[in-house]
Amino acid sequence: MNERRMLDDQHFETMIEEESICTSSNVVYDAPHKALYDTPMHYCPGCGHGVVHRLLAEVFEEMDIIKEVIGVAPVGCSVLAYNYLNIDMSEAAHGRASAVATGIKRVLPDKLVFSYQGDGDLAAIGTGETIHTCNRGENILILFINNGIYGMTGGQMAPTTLPGMKSTTSPFGRNVETMGNPLKITDLVAQLPGTVYVTRQAVHKPVNVRKTKKAIQKAFEYQQNGGKGTCFIEVVSNCPSNWKMTPLDSNKWMEENMLPFYPLGDLKTPSGKEN
């Protein structure tokens, strides 16, 4: 701690007693404690996963559905989602979250079921389950965090890695001739009659965070109202650690490179209108 900061702190302490400002009437911003555990953060600084977790918790509280939701965690960095979200959760095998969610929803049709999956989980090893879950129109929400890389295993190429993008298994950049093209699986599931609401959002700016929250809320509302199919939300996200960038740079890179390829907005809504 530098000297100036110390001086400031002392100054501050003499000015105002802490207790006098930490009152409930003065709270302008608080964590959704009912649905979110107070737990040490294991996500890297600046990672989108943490933001989406919090949005989920906010929606659970605001919609008063903490006792109604059952979540399915994937294999990926968010495998420990249940250490944050204080709701009933099941941890699925790699890629199978939507099948696990199907199993839960089919025997408990009145509950609100969602899977939370990364791009490797959902669009590589679990492609079959993803497409068939959407094609059957399971009344669940699939929340898809697309960071264009395998975060958990240390930065290997994902099905969504951009052409030319470097990863530990495409060290000279993704060569589409030999490694295939990035898979726009969200566009793909939007084609299926089983999906009712398909949207692509991001959480790198306050305005996008608000839009993503709105999307999550809508998806649970659709499911609550008898949901006539699968809701699918892609969140284009970042992985500062494996992209080897600062959080700020990663968001900038994401905006400049990921978003042109994965444009934000609704791909399908129940009313058929795009907004």
Partner: protein, 355 residues
Amino acid sequence: MKELKLMKGNEALAEAAIRAGCDAYFGYPITPQSEVLEYLSREADKRTGMVVLQAESEVASINMVYGAAGTGKKVMTSSSSPGMSLMQEGISYIACAELPCLLVNVNRGGPGLGTIQPAQGDYFQSVKGGGHGDYRLIVLAPSTVQEMADFVELSFELAFKYRNPVLILTDGALGQMMEKVELKVQKERKFEDLGWTTTGRNNGNGRVITSLHLKPDQMEEINIHLQKKYKTIEENEVRVESKNCEDAEYIITAYGLVARICNKAAELAREKGIKVGVIRPITLFPFPKKEIKELTKNAKGILDVEMNAGQMVEDVRLAVEGKVPVEFHGRMGGIVPSPEEILEKLEEKFIGGVV
């Protein structure tokens, strides 16, 4: 009042599942077990509201089972050998997360795509774990269509008692053949909070179904707990049938359909004046080690007969600890041995008689 019906093994099993109050079935077609899915698709929903879903693969079905079993409902799947191989990762997760459920393998000839004829080549996969890690299934081996039906309810009982997946290991012949079967009365489907299930958060914190334990000491603790449970199962749940072993000079060990053929072989032997008994393990895990050792202590030899290259015979040898000579006769690839063939092998291997 008895309700007797002439049914295929697969259909009797499916009917028993409906009557046992099963809540959900997830499966994928494969011969020789597709009748289970077909029968349930026709009958289940309209009679009890049981969920029946044809999944896109066995990988999907077993993971649907994982999800649904986590809610505490009575859930099952069935398949045949190649499909069971695909399910192994999911079964390992289910075993670690300690989810009760019923699995059925209508064993066909392998390896590979193999044949659709009956076989017992999946014994190792079924009783030694099958997937990754140290875990066990409770394995029941029916030898009649009646047992195909009866073991369904028993399986659910054991699955919930021990929070462990239970496997009915049968074969293509038992699945396809028709026999008279006595059916039980319809049980109500009921649902209760078992204290660990994920059905939407209750008054406490959220519950979690998981097989992930990143800290090694925690993972070891889980393993120790599982091994303790398997030990208890070994102590309490052994089921075995023996026929004419008291005075037998030679004993045949066999499970499932083969045991019935061996009973016939033993009859033929007695007609010839050779005293032969038969031991049929009904639970393959827990394996009737003590029982086999005890029942064979005065025998001159044991012939183990299987429809594979010799798998259960290893457990028989371990059970008798070298005290009795153990020989093996097996047919593979979907071929069922005949009683005459078995008797001939017994004489050849132990008496040195017929050539």
